[in-house]
């Protein structure tokens, strides 16, 4: 990263535009990525999980989660609109959404691991220089924490069941591989720009390492399972 780091706070869209195009584009990339990926998550994983749930309580909690993720998409879309960004333009969703969800076991492991990745990203954004983004993330984090705790609690129950433990391990093995790219490449011009403007604080590798620490502690320490070896550098 070159150049001084912006240390100010940006109160609203007008102030963001006053700082210049590069700042608006930096915030815009982060916001529109969330617009796309919150919807992709709700569509690919959470809505189908309603039908996979083994009982009514799980079904309705899955429904609540699906609607929260969908709500996140809408709230990020509103933020993008306030900034004057075009969210209708097509863009790539994260590769984790290529994972094909087929079972409730996969869903709960996904909530425990993949939503933890989202928590790591949001915790970084909770100090973002763009205050409307910071405020939104702070409001959404309790819901993301709930999604992770929901996944962790059900994963503990399933891992304690001899008939399910192998499926939990398989889901961990599969989902960790899909989630590593979630944080972006180790060498990233976008991330350099985000940090220079105070939109993010962490490098992609730092965020990835934080996720690996948390998830390996959960999988090995609480589930008693194996966490796959992960190279914390990722170059695509």
């Amino acid at each position: 990263m070159s150049g001084p780091t912006f240390a100010g706070e940006v109160a609203d869209a007008a102030a963001a535009h006053a700082l210049g195009t590069e700042y608006v584009q930096a915030v815009g990339k982060v916001v529109t990525s969330h617009v796309r990926n919150e919807l992709a998550g709700a569509t690919a994983f959470d809505e189908p999980a309603i039908g996979l749930a083994p009982g009514p309580r799980e079904k309705w909690l899955a429904c609540r989660i699906a609607m929260e993720e969908y709500g996140h998409h809408l709230k990020f879309a509103r933020l993008a609109s306030d900034l004057g960004l075009d969210t209708a333009a097509p863009g790539r969703t994260l590769s984790v959404f290529d994972f094909e969800l087929t079972s409730w076991t996969e869903f709960v492991v996904l909530k425990a691991l993949v939503d933890e990745a989202e928590v790591v990203l949001m915790e970084d954004l909770a100090a973002a220089s763009y205050l409307p983004l910071r405020d939104l993330v702070v409001r959404l984090l309790p819901e993301e924490h709930f999604h992770v705790s929901f996944g962790q609690a059900r994963a503990r129950e399933l891992a304690a069941d001899p008939a399910q433990v192998g499926l939990v391990q398989q889901a961990v093995d599969d989902l960790v591989g899909f989630t590593v790219p979630f944080f972006g490449r180790s060498v990233s011009a976008n991330n350099d720009t985000f940090r220079r403007w105070g939109v993010k604080r962490w490098t992609n590798d730092e965020a990835r390492a934080a996720w690996v620490r948390r998830c390996s502690r959960f999988v090995e320490g609480e589930l008693g399972l194996r966490f796959p070896t992960v190279d914390r550098h990722w170059d695509g």
Partner: protein
Amino acid sequence: MTSTPADLGALARMTPAGPVDLPLVAVALRAGVEAAASVDPDWLSEVDCRRAAARQAAVAAGRGAALEAALHDALVAATGAAGLDDDGRVASGARLWLLSGAIASALSGAEPDPFRAWATLLAAGWWPIGPSGGRLVVSTL
């Protein structure tokens, strides 16, 4: 805020899976969540099918965009973590599950609309839960 429709019993018995003729009980949230855990699985499965069918019918009728638009503000208004414990999330998820089915069903143009009676109860602030333990249970939240 919950209000009590004059025809609560009749509306509650017209469930999205068809008429249910069981004794009606109205319970508080905790008892509602307990009853929800043992709701009749066949009945639940039938509602699930009708919910999915309503969504497919709305999309097939060219109203997919209208469906998404109708869900937008309803969901933004209905979600928000403040003050919700696990029981509150179960009740909220169940109500959202029914609400999204009711919106899809209304947009599909189904007549008679299987979700209409329970949509009235949702709008009045009730959580209609379903047949559980030989009773038809609704909660006052």
